[in-house]
């Protein structure tokens, strides 16, 4: 790679007491990309963000953000980053506008510039009608947008979003996603943490699945999906149907073993997608006198990746 990565970590570790929160994390995030840390609660995602944004010191290893070491040159890192989400907040007793102006001034803008910037961001995030109300009267979605606006006062080259849509309703989540996509178009490097697979799928270039402080898988959403298996055909047969015989008929079409899945009369057949496969399967079953209630093709989702990876971790623990 000719260009150095915008975020780079090597052996990054942090533990609280005796419990390791993050152990031996190696990341390379190129400039302008969206990187997603995906994992269940307690996986260490937030700790990674807090280390990279200089809020906590790593116990071991090093990390560089925009070329500056987080431990040795925290002040330089803080000039390049924006942080928003679970743990960075705004003052509930101030108005939305006052919050943005204050943070602008703390970012060393002069007052008129801070005011202009606040007005611009309020308009951009559709917060103008509520701009002069105290933040404690805001809805969850409005507060998140204000929070994001606060982290964009000076144009950060690196943006950390810690669970930006946790607890939002579906419409607010879609608004948030659109906002985030636009930021990335501007060339901002984004590190996103989320518990939502769909969010990672929608936004991320690279997804890193974390569990118990370790990386369990990393790759593009497409790679990860491919790693847990290909397309499957899901069949639902009426109660009392001859499942064994059906499985035998399906076997020639399958790319792997035919499995019985949850619920009575349900079969899962791994297949290699090709034109006409569904009609072939139905024709064969029909010829054998086996009726079919329902049939569907399913492509692997990040859900499958997530369950396959984090489930294995739980079983080992």
């Amino acid at each position: 790679m000719r260009q150095p990565p915008m975020i780079e970590t090597c052996g990054l570790a942090k533990s609280f007491g005796r419990a390791p929160a993050v152990s031996g994390l190696d990341l390379q995030i190129p400039a302008g990309s969206t990187f997603c840390l995906l994992g269940p609660n307690g996986a260490g995602k937030t700790t990674v963000v807090r280390m990279l944004s200089t809020l906590v010191r790593p116990d071991a290893g090093w990390a560089r953000v925009a070329g500056h070491d987080v431990a040795a040159d925290g002040a330089a890192v803080r000039r390049e980053i924006g942080l928003s989400g679970q743990y960075a907040s705004v003052d509930e007793f101030l108005t939305g506008r006052a919050n943005l102006v204050m943070i602008g001034e703390l970012c060393r803008l002069r007052r008129p510039a801070a005011r202009r910037r606040a007005a611009e961001l309020l308009a951009h995030f559709e917060l103008e009608p509520a701009a002069d109300r105290p933040v404690r009267t805001y809805s969850g979605g409005m507060r998140r947008r204000l929070d994001l606006a606060a982290s964009l006062i000076t144009r950060p080259r690196v943006l950390f979003l810690d669970e930006p849509t946790t607890g939002l309703d579906p419409r607010s989540r879609l608004v948030m996603w659109d906002v985030i996509r636009r930021l990335v178009l501007d060339g901002t490097t984004l590190l996103l943490t989320t518990q939502y697979l769909e969010e990672a799928d929608q936004l991320a270039d690279v997804v890193c699945v974390m569990d118990s402080g370790r990386v369990t898988a990393q790759g593009t959403p497409a790679d990860l999906k491919a790693s847990v298996g290909g397309t499957r055909l899901l069949l639902s047969l009426p109660p009392g149907a001859a499942l064994g015989r059906a499985a035998a008929i399906l076997a020639p079409h399958a790319a792997g073993p035919v499995r019985l899945t949850g619920g009575p009369g349900r079969l899962e057949v791994p297949v290699v997608p090709r034109p006409g496969i569904v009609t072939d399967v139905v024709k064969d079953l029909d010829a054998a006198g086996i009726p079919v209630d329902d049939i569907s093709m399913r492509r692997p989702s990040l859900d499958d990746v997530f369950h396959a990876l984090t489930g294995a971790g739980e079983a080992a623990a």
């Binding site: 807090r50 944004s53 200089t54 809020l55 002040a75 803080r78 000039r79 980053i81 924006g82 942080l83 679970q86 743990y87 960075a88 907040s89 705004v90 003052d91 509930e92 007793f93 101030l94 108005t95 006052a98 204050m102 943070i103 001034e105 703390l106 970012c107 060393r108 803008l109 002069r110 510039a113 202009r116 910037r117 611009e120 961001l121 308009a123 951009h124 995030f125 559709e126 105290p134 606060a150 006062i153 000076t154 144009r155 419409r171 879609l174 608004v175 659109d178 906002v179 996509r181 636009r182 501007d186």
Partner: protein, 226 residues
């Protein structure tokens, strides 16, 4: 169908973000300038909260008044000083102390709330000087304490006027009495430094202590002795 929100949003430009401040001044001077600047911004922040939630002013206006009235009228006579004298002379100083303690508590609670809501994490991720979070809040709370002190002092002065009208002579303030007692004990100290002090009298009293003061300080309180 969800509308395409992105296309409706006004364009966001980053041109208004200021360039980094020109480095004409030496680095240490610039650092101090920005630290003061940050303190000022954060002090204004805490004071601005008073404007949006004026209830906070109750603590520094109504509460000292209630304390003054409570201890001067309701509990009057219930408290006796071991060496006689009127405890009201110590009252205002005591209420100053209570106010200071109360405001310190408010500062601590406010910081704890900022810490738990993540506001301090936000500040810590900004390129600002870090100590100013504490200094800014302390200064703002100190200015609120000044309001409380002013209210208490005015209540005390109003009370003193009433008591002056009743007894016909000014009561010595607690602080003045305290200093005088300290002074008396000091001039009785036969240390070598005091001996032969210019202007001192033959018996070792500094010239500054007048007979009138000796009368006030040296005589036991007649009313208690009786």
């Amino acid at each position: 169908m969800i509308p395409d929100v992105a296309s409706q949003l006004p364009a966001l430009s980053f041109e208004t973000a200021a360039p980094p401040p020109a480095r004409t001044a030496p680095a240490w001077l610039a650092a101090r300038y920005w630290a003061l600047h940050d303190v000022w911004v954060l002090t204004r922040r805490t004071l601005a909260r008073v404007i949006t939630t004026p209830e906070q002013l109750v603590n520094v206006t109504v509460q000292p008044l209630i304390l003054v009235l409570l201890f001067s009228y309701v509990f009057d006579g219930a408290i006796r000083l071991p060496d006689g004298g009127n405890y009201r002379e110590y009252l205002i100083a005591g209420i100053f102390a209570v106010n200071m303690g109360g405001t310190a508590q408010g500062t601590a609670i406010g910081l704890a709330v900022d810490l738990s809501t993540g506001l301090i994490d936000r500040f810590r991720s900004l390129p600002m000087s870090r100590a100013t979070v504490l200094i800014g809040r302390t200064l703002a709370d100190l200015s609120l304490t000044l309001v409380a002190g002013l209210v208490t002092a005015m209540a005390g002065l109003a009370g003193a006027r009433r008591s002056l009208a009743r007894t016909g002579r000014p009561r010595t303030g607690a602080a003045v009495r305290l200093f005088r007692r300290v002074g008396r004990n000091m001039h009785r100290d036969p240390g070598p430094r005091r001996r032969g002090r210019p202007g001192g009298r033959a018996d070792g009293h500094p010239a500054a202590v007048t007979d009138v003061e000796r009368f006030h300080l040296g005589q036991p309180d007649d009313s208690v002795a009786a």
